[in-house]
Amino acid sequence: MWLQLSINGICLGAVYALIAVGFAIVFSVLKFSNFAHGGMISACAFMGYFFQASFKKAPPIWVTILFTAFCGVLFALFLDQIAYRSIRRNKSPNIYYFLASLTISIIITSILNVFFSKNPLAYPPLFETTTFSIGALKISKMDTMILIISAALLAALLLLINKTKIGLAIRAVAISPETSKLMGINSSMILIMIFSIAGFLSGVSGVLLGCKYGVYPDLGQTMMVKGFIASVIGGLGSLGGAIAAAFLLGLLEMFWTYVFGSLSTPVMTFVVMLLFLFIRPQGISGKFAKEKV
C-alpha cells in the first residue's frame, strides 16, 4: 500500500512540478510570483481542446501538446506586452508585476467562464484501459505519461539553464540585471526568453492537466496555490529547488490524505511550511542571495 501511495504521490508531484517550474523561471529573473500562469494554463487547456476537436480524427497527443505550447508562447508574449511592459518601463517595484499577474489570472478565468462554461469539455481518452499493473501495483497510464513528459521537459530546461550560453545569460540577469547589461547581455531578449519558456510550460501543462482533470475555466487557478507553495519553499527562483519541493509536496499530501483525510491537508501544509522556513529560511536549494542591503 505504501509503495502504491508513493507512486501516486510522485505522479502528483510531477503535476505540481510542471506548475512550480513555470513560477520559478519567471521569479528567477523578474523576482515576482507570476500568478497569471494559472490563468494561462486554463486558457491553454481550452486552446488545445479546440485544436484537437477541430479535426475529424483527433491528432496524436504530441501534436496537440506542441501546437498548444506554441500558442502558449505567443500568448505569454502577448500578455507581457499588454500587462507588464509599461510596468517595466516605469521601473515600478516588482509588487506591481505581482498585482498585474493576479489581475490577468482573474480576467482570463472570467472570460473563459463567460464564453465556455456552457458545456463542460473533456479531451477524448488517450488509452483504451487507464491503468497497467506491476504485481499488485496499479499505475495510471495518464500519470505515467505526465511523469515522463514532465521529467523530460524539466531535464531539458535544467540543461538549458545550466549548460548553454542562453542559460548563462539568464542566470546572469537573474543575479544582477545592471551588471549583465554592462557585460553586453540584451536583457529584453532574456525577458522574451523567460516568458517564452513560461508560456511553453503553461501550454504543455494546460494540455496535460486538461487530459487528466477535464477542461474548465478554474482549472489552472485552483492548481496555482500548490505551484506557488512549491516554488517558494523550493527557494525562490531556483528550478531544482522548486522541482524537489513539488515532489515533496505531492508525496506529503498523498500520505497525509491517506492517514488523516483531506480536510486537514491545508493545516498540515501550513505547519510544514512554517517549520520548514524556520529551519531552513533559504529554501531547499539555498542558492538564493540574501536580501541586499
Binding site: K118, P120, A122, T130, M142, G214, Y216, M254, Y258, P266
Partner: protein, 390 residues
Amino acid sequence: MKRILTSIIVLLTVFALFATGAEEVKTAEGPIKIGSIQDLSGSASNAGRPNAWGAEYAVKVINENGGINGRMIEIYTQDCKNDVTEGLNAYHKLVDEIGVCAIIGPALSNPASAWVELAQEDQVPIIGHFMDEVCTTNPDNGQTYKYMFLCEPSCSQQARDLAEYAIADLGKKSFAVLYNPSNAFAKAQADPFVKYVKERGCTLAASETFGWADKDYSAQALKIVASGAECVFLGDYLGQMLIAYDALRDAGFKGTVIGANTMAPPFANQVKNEVHDVYFLQNYDMLNPSVGNINALVTKHMAETGTASPQVNVGFGWDAVLVLTEAMKKAKDPTDGAELVSLLEQTKDLELSGGVKITINAQHRTDTMGMYIATYVDKQMKIVGYRKVE
C-alpha cells in the same frame, strides 16, 4: 490618462448612486414584475444559466397565452455568482429598485439562506430549488420561513430516495461516501445519505472527503477500496465527479458508484474509465417525450443556446415560474406578496414539466415528488426507477 480614468470612475459611481435610483411605483395595472436570481457567472454558472433560461422561457410562453388574467409578466434576471453578498445585492436591486412582487430563486442554497428573513420583512415570496432544508425551515425553532418555497424534493429526501434504491433494489449493504464538504450542495446530500444508510442498518465502511484545491483523489480511492465498501456515494459538481469516478476505478474499485444528479450526461462521455454500475438521481425523465413537457423544454434549450447536453435546470426554472403564476392567476391582486403566499401554500396537484404533480406542504416543501434513478447503458442515460421514500 489620469483624468480620463478619474472621470470614468466618477461617472460610473454617480451613475450607480443616482441614475438607477429611479423609484418604481407598484401600479395596479400594467405588467407584473417578477425577479429571477441565478448564477450567471461564477463556479456554478453552467447550472445557473439554463435555470435562468427556463424561467424566462416560461414567462414568454405564459405571456403568449394571455399572461396572468390579461396582464403581462416582466422577468428581470440578476446574477448572484453563488455568493452571499452578490445575492443580497441582486435581491435588493430587484425588490427595492425594480419593485418585483416575487422572485424565482437559484438552484443553490448559499445565497438563498441570506434572504429567508428579508423575504418575510419585504413580503416577497421566493420560489426556487434551494434544496437545503435550512432555506425553508428555521433549524433553531423548526418554524417554516413563510416566504420561501421549494419546488423539488429537499436534499434529505433526495438522498433517502437514492439510498433506498441502493439498499432495496441493488441489495447493497456496505457503503462509502466520497464528497466535497466545502461544497454546500454536496454536503447537503452526503450527510442525510449517511444518516439514512445507518438508520437502515447498513454499514458505512468509509467516509472520505476532498476540497476545492485538491485534484488527486487517489489516496481517498485507495482507502475506500481497502475498506471493502460495495457501493460509493459521490457528491460534488460534474468536474469533480469525473475525477472521483476515475480515481475509484483506477484504484481497482469494482463495485457500484451512485451519486447526485450532476452525474447526468456528459458524465459518461467524459470519464476515462469504462462506465458500469453507475446509478444517479434525476429530477426528470428528460429523454422521454411522453411525460410532461420536459423533453420539449430541454431540446428547445439545446437548440437555442447551443448547449450540447440536456440540462435539468431548464426544468427547474420552468417549474418555479409555473408554481408562481398558478398562484397569481387565482389572486385578486397578483402583486400582493401576502396574498400570493397564502395561495402558494394551497398549491395542490399542479402538474410540473416532469409530469409529476406538486403539492406544497406545511414546511413549504413537497412530499408528492419523488426522484428518478438513472443509469448508463452503452453511455446512454436510461431511467431505471422512480423512488419516493416517505
